[in-house]
Amino acid sequence: MKGNLISWEVGDPLKVLVAVITVPVLSYLLAAGYLHSMAGLALIHGNEPPTFSPSTATSSMSAHWLFVYPSLVPGFWILLSLFTSVISVLTFRYDRDRGYALSLYSLPYSKLGIYLSKVASTLVFAVLASIFPLIAVAVFLNADLSPVLWSLLGSTTFLYELVLTFYFVFFVLSVSVLFGVLFKNMFLSFLAAFFVTVVPYFSSLMLPPFSFVEGFTAVLNGGTPFSPANAAAGLALPITLLLLSLVVFLRGDVV
């Protein structure tokens, strides 16, 4: 039953079309940011420059750039929050705005099941647009690094950054879902969600979700995404918002 709903939601032609247009653009932004590096302004005092083996490669300049470049591509994160809000609002409002929600909700599915499958499908698209490009850039643009590449991808720094990226999309998703069930208009929901998530960045306030992007440099210096502040903003707050929107979803009228 649930599987049917999820495959129906992820197979929605409109959402697949939006993803086909947006995800390659997101990957392009990341790749262009990664290839833009090429600067060496550091000066190291020490013994002879070491030859890196897979176990020591995480201290090389290449590893450092691989870990730090995503936080230097603001276009990627802005477009990612736009994409995540569009997908969430399309999932939660498009059927109601177009009117076919009435026939959908008359099918023998529980409202809770419909809500969960909508959230799950949105999460699938959000992860596809964020974590997937991050890994693809690291794998496909570094074929010559292959001896050390796998140790870089398996390092805790990279995994922590993927966790922070997940926090980012999870936060944007939960805010958009809340506005999607609160407002009775697709455009209004999208606008509200986009402004709430992105305006703090333009006013250089260190609020989530963009504080997670800043966290990338903290992770390089030994920080962890599981610290109380990060876990509260990246997991607890979104889950609270999702529970809140679940209440609105269950108690509110369809349409």
Binding site: A19, V20, G40, M61, A143
Partner: protein
């Protein structure tokens, strides 16, 4: 059409790999600057400039000082360059592939330079094009089987 999401995923991956090639083209003439910095060997301690190159590139380097200018590929351990500086040298060096490199010396000199003319190495191009080819064949097969 069945399995619309899987078809979309394949199209996304193909377009993504093509966009990587476009990203190389966009960064072809972008310059990344190195230094200026003083590299030296002093009482057994080295000062050196490490840098990262994201692909095949040309390094334009200019140094003033005394000693030999050395460039080490820190991933393979090979030395790519060993030229005397007496007292000035200006050289274009090929950076063969992506990775970490270090400029160092056995004397003492000031160096500055830039990297430009970035291209994907043949291995990176091979990985990208073979992946695009395999995914396209898979996509064509699935469209043939699933189109209804």
């Amino acid at each position: 059409m069945r399995h619309r999401f899987l078809i979309g995923l394949l199209v996304i991956m193909i377009l993504m790999l093509m966009s990587f090639l476009a990203a190389y083209r966009a960064n072809e003439h972008v310059r990344g600057y190195i230094g200026p910095g003083k590299i030296q060997l002093e009482s057994g301690r080295l000062s050196y400039i490490p840098f990262h190159s994201p692909g095949w590139a040309l390094l334009n380097i200019s140094c003033n000082g005394r000693g030999s200018l050395l460039l080490k590929d820190q991933l393979s351990g090979r030395n790519l360059l060993d030229i005397p500086v007496e007292p000035h040298v200006s050289r274009v060096v090929v950076i063969p592939h992506e990775g970490t490199y270090s400029l160092y010396t056995n004397g003492s000199m000031f160096c500055s330079g830039y990297i430009s003319e970035l291209y994907p190495t043949s291995r990176t191009q091979g990985v990208l094009w073979v992946s695009v080819g395999v995914l396209s064949v898979l996509l064509a097969f699935l469209l043939w089987r699933w189109w209804s």
